[in-house]
């Protein structure tokens, strides 16, 4: 039972991170039907910025939690700037082009950003400081769920609640939903669609940066390549849940996290990724639109 709970919470933590990154994929897809393959790189850049800030802060002798918050905020700002620029440079000029063109542009940006970090930083794995302290009150349950897991869970849940409020309650959220349902009509009722698209990229990038900082301080190392696997997994989560659907992304992330965790724990950790992508294939065969996705017929 204890082992089960351990795997359960491990999967939940993992899954909530996947969900956080998957939200960026799914929101962008919902609005402009583009798989933003460079999204994983935004996550990686978030982690790198946090590492640099953490390094500087440690020199000035700040404590763990304050470093985490400061590094997180700066990483978010940086990632947002990257996400905004990415859309402006690589996707906006291709608006109206066939769908394949921005997709290729996205893959290009992904490779470009990886190599940029590779050259500007280092090809090696860098150690990332453990910024999340061990809380005393977690001591009795530490063998099931540790402090880092708790912090990750709380952060992701709070982030998701804020995102839901933003989309459901504010006028910006309303404009985003309208743009998603009918972009041209949204324009005609006066929504500045370009600005809404920029904002979607900014929000998605902020979520990716939060994910990046949390994962980096949880796993303890970063590298220019971490965005690739995280991106592919989060993309899988988004497709699992039904791409374009926000609750779907969260559900897909959790399903993926648990599948990985239980498969690794009960069967073999060597085949972790096999289970992940096997699950993807299975769901796509049984429910091509994803768990919560609506299959809609292409209108002619």
């Amino acid at each position: 039972m204890e082992y089960f709970l351990q795997l359960f919470f491990g999967g939940l933590t993992r899954g909530s991170i996947y969900a956080l990154i998957a939200l960026g994929y799914t929101m962008v897809y919902g609005i402009i039907q583009l798989i933003n393959f460079a999204h994983g790189e935004i996550y990686m850049i978030g982690a790198f910025v946090a590492l640099i800030v953490a390094g500087v802060c440690t020199i000035y002798g700040l404590s763990g939690v304050s470093i985490l918050i400061l590094a997180g905020v700066i990483a978010i700002i940086y990632s947002c700037a990257y996400g905004y620029t990415l859309e402006k440079v690589a996707y906006r000029p291709l608006r109206g082009a066939p769908r394949l063109s921005p997709l290729i542009s996205a893959i290009g940006m992904s490779i470009f950003l990886q190599n940029y970090v590779l050259l500007a930083q280092t090809p090696d794995f860098l150690p990332f400081p453990r910024l999340i302290p061990d809380f005393d009150f977690m001591e009795p349950v530490a063998h099931i769920i540790g402090s880092p897991e708790l912090v990750i869970l709380i952060t992701t849940v709070v982030t998701m609640i804020l995102l839901t409020l933003l989309i459901k309650k504010t006028r910006v959220g309303k404009a985003m939903r309208a743009t998603q349902q009918d972009m041209n009509m949204a324009r005609l009722v006066g929504v500045n669609v370009d600005r809404i698209i920029s904002l979607t990229f900014i929000i998605g990038s902020a979520l990716a940066a939060i994910g990046g900082v949390l994962v980096a301080s949880y796993i303890g190392q970063v590298n220019f390549y971490i965005g690739f696997l995280a991106g592919v997994k989060a993309f899988t989560a988004a497709v699992l849940g039904g791409i374009g659907s926000i609750p779907g992304a969260v559900l897909g992330g959790l399903v993926l996290g648990w599948a990985e965790s239980f498969a690794a724990g009960y069967i073999s950790s060597d085949y972790e990724d096999v289970f992940t992508f096997g699950l993807l294939v299975l769901i796509l065969i049984l429910r091509p639109a994803g768990i919560l996705g609506k299959s809609h017929k292409q209108k002619v």
Partner: protein, 265 residues
């Protein structure tokens, strides 16, 4: 036409080419304040293309689209983005219904009002006091609009669940929410039964009279057109072939020919 009325929309020699196809061929048209103008013509005459040019969906190949808002300087609409055109005070509805299906009736209307408010994105995210007050105002004025079109009872329904005629009225309410002085209606009565059409007729007259919104409509229902519109413009094969009062149009041989074909000996 009365000379003292203020001219709101002036379209001069509008031409729209799609490759080798000339969908709209130097059409000239004017809408004055208080008008309920109609644009009629057989299917494929280029009426909707004409609307699309005016509202910024297409960038016309030739010609001028001039908007003369009362008390403001004249604006040329050619090549403006649709959201800018809407900001200038020109709203439209579509031939096929294009509501936001997964939003409530109220939200559909509210979204139209947002272009008339000045809070930026970040203020809206933080939700300061001024934003909340403004939001409250938007809710109230949106309710008011829904009452006007008779949909206040459905405010919290999803718009996709409304009956057809009600969806059409909601489209008009949403267009009015952007606070236009000129409203373009693209076949508002398409697919309606006679009762719904007559309700619509009253609604259009009410909007024109009470809100001081000029109206330009495309319609195939000749009874509706003849009852409420003056002047009427007729298009065929991209060209304007006639304009005038309903009586003049009815007796115009070119119009009869366009609709019924040439008389044979």
């Amino acid at each position: 036409m009365a000379e003292n009325k203020h001219k709101l929309l002036e379209v001069k020699g509008l031409t729209m080419d799609f490759g080798g196809l000339r969908a709209v061929d130097s059409v000239t048209l004017e809408v004055y304040e208080g008008d309920i103008a109609a644009l009629i013509g057989p299917n494929g005459a280029g009426k909707t293309t004409f609307f699309n040019c005016i509202t910024g969906i297409y960038n016309p190949s030739k010609g001028d689209i001039l908007l003369h808002p009362k008390g403001l300087k004249t604006r040329r609409l050619n090549g403006l983005k649709p959201n800018k055109v809407t900001e200038m005070g020109l709203a439209r509805t579509f031939q096929n219904i294009r509501l936001f299906p997964d939003m409530t009736v109220l939200e559909n209307v509210m979204i139209g009002r947002h272009c008339r408010t000045n809070s930026g994105i970040f203020k809206a995210i933080i939700r300061s006091k001024s934003v909340r007050d403004e939001e409250q105002q938007i809710v109230e004025s949106s309710y008011h609009l829904l009452e006007k079109v008779g949909l206040a009872d459905f405010a919290n329904e999803f718009s996709k669940n409304l009956p057809y005629g009600a969806q059409r009225r909601l489209e008009i309410a949403r267009a009015m929410a952007t606070d236009p002085f000129l409203l373009l209606l693209d076949e508002p009565a398409a697919g309606m039964n006679p009762q719904e059409t007559s309700d619509l007729e009253q609604l259009i007259c009410k909007i024109s009279a009470e809100e001081q919104i000029a109206i330009l409509l495309i319609e195939h229902d000749m009874k509706l057109v003849m009852n409420i519109s003056d002047p009427i413009y007729v298009m065929e094969y991209g060209k304007k072939i006639a304009e005038g009062s309903p009586e003049e149009i009815k007796d115009n041989p070119k119009v009869v020919e366009a609709y019924l074909g040439e008389e044979t000996e």
